[in-house]
């Protein structure tokens, strides 16, 4: 594998993470439990799709085959999407959406912080810009984890179920293979093992504050980084790609 190919793959992974989670969150538009949260979730969706745009644009430039950011976002097949399984999981109730967001925000915070030191100026710039947004997202999701976990009996029980369900997807956030090794040689990216312990500590601190139990995960579910997705992904793509598949090249 060449280095531009590795960089393209790396950018696509993270662009897909943000796009797919942005798509999921935008499903809340008009359905939030209260107006403020309807607005919050769609604001976060907007930030994530904005980050995806930056990452896809740079990926398109690195690939240099004439594909645009829109082509990458809307005209690939399911197997070509490399997002982690966590982000494609269905919204469930508000608490489940919050837990999914909380886990992803924690990863993004540490990953973007590490990428600030990237030897690639554009990667560092995207990280710098995105990090400012992620800090807000994490504050929001953490506060809700605590409010629901340390809330009523029902909110506690329901968010605990979501934690128990979603923790098996966490390990995949730290997926690394030869793509990462190649890019680490030139310090384009760092080794995410370096902040894995910090991640778990940060997550556990909030879960403990929220009076929630940290589940002991025996089996980690993975596949997204290799293009093997859960059954939810096809439905998500069908909706997201509908317009471009039906009216190719459509703009407004």
């Amino acid at each position: 594998m060449t280095k531009p190919k590795a960089l393209f793959e790396y950018l696509i992974r993270h662009a897909d993470d943000t796009l797919i989670l942005g798509q999921r969150l935008s499903e809340w538009c008009g359905h939030g439990p209260i107006l403020e949260e309807d607005i919050a979730l769609t604001n976060i969706a907007l930030d994530l799709i904005g980050q995806a745009t930056e990452l896809y644009e740079y990926a398109a430039q690195v690939e240099n085959k004439g594909r645009t950011a829109d082509d990458l976002a809307f005209l690939r097949l399911e197997r070509e999407y490399k997002n982690v399984l966590l982000v494609e999981q269905k919204n469930g109730d508000f608490g489940k959406t919050i837990v999914r967001q909380f886990l992803f925000d924690n990863f993004q915070l540490l990953n973007y912080t590490q990428l600030l030191n990237s030897s690639d100026a554009q990667v560092a710039a995207i990280a710098e810009k995105s990090l400012k947004e992620v800090k807000y997202h994490l504050k929001h999701s953490s506060e809700w984890v605590i409010r629901l976990g340390d809330g009523t009996e029902e909110s506690h029980q329901r968010i605990q179920e979501s934690v128990d369900d979603l923790m098996r997807f966490v390990e995949e956030l730290f997926f690394q293979n030869e793509v990462n090794e190649l890019l680490q040689e030139d310090k384009l990216i760092g080794d995410c093992e370096e902040f894995k312990q910090q991640f778990h500590q940060n997550v556990n601190n909030v879960l403990t504050e929220a009076t929630l139990t940290i589940p002991d995960i025996k089996y980690h579910q993975k596949g997204g980084r290799k293009g093997i997705h859960s059954e939810h992904m096809g439905f998500l793509l069908a909706e997201m790609q509908y317009m471009q598949r039906t009216y190719p090249g459509m703009q407004w």
């Binding site: 607005i39 907007l46 930030d47 554009q122 810009k129 807000y136 994490l138």
Partner: protein, 163 residues
């Protein structure tokens, strides 16, 4: 063209371009114009986004091109991400205009730990009371949070601090 246009003049023309979502602010007040380069009637304006997904950026880009075309300039707008925009770049003039418009301007605050920090004290833009409460960290646009005044009961937008 009758006479040469200077870079300073271009900056002045840009003061006519408003933020479509906060129309009281110009793009110059907002601090998103990073650079202006002139080469005869060709102009290159470099801007930086406030938020990555801000839908206003495309509109702003077109408005800049349109405004400068009135002066006979052919403009290209380039976007740069680094250094990343912060609310520190909003001019004092811009802050005053925001407050007059009913949006509380960003309050300077040190970047404390992200979590569990007390919400910033934001004075009410209407009655100036400091007895206000955060309703939601997210408001009507990406750049705003939602507050309410406990004294005069006015609900208001806060142009949140981004550093």
């Amino acid at each position: 063209m009758t006479s040469e246009i200077s870079v300073e003049q271009v900056w002045n023309y840009l003061k006519d371009v408003k933020d479509p979502e906060v129309p009281v602010l110009t793009v110059v007040d907002l601090g998103i114009i990073r650079n202006v380069e002139l080469n005869g009637t060709e102009c290159l304006v470099t801007i930086t986004p406030t938020y990555t997904g801000c839908p206003a950026m495309r509109v702003i880009e077109n408005d800049i091109i349109e405004r400068l075309s009135k002066e006979g300039l052919r403009t290209e707008v380039k976007t740069t991400l680094s250094p990343a925009w912060t609310t520190d770049w909003i001019t004092q003039d811009g802050r005053d205009k925001l407050e007059g418009y009913g949006i509380a301007p960003p309050q300077d605050e040190v970047d404390k730990s992200v979590l569990f920090a007390e919400p910033t004290v934001v004075p009410c833009p209407l009655c100036k009371s400091k007895n206000t409460r955060l309703v939601s960290q997210f408001g009507s646009t990406a750049c705003k949070a939602h507050y309410q005044c406990n004294d005069c009961k006015e609900p208001f937008d806060y142009f949140k601090c981004l550093k």
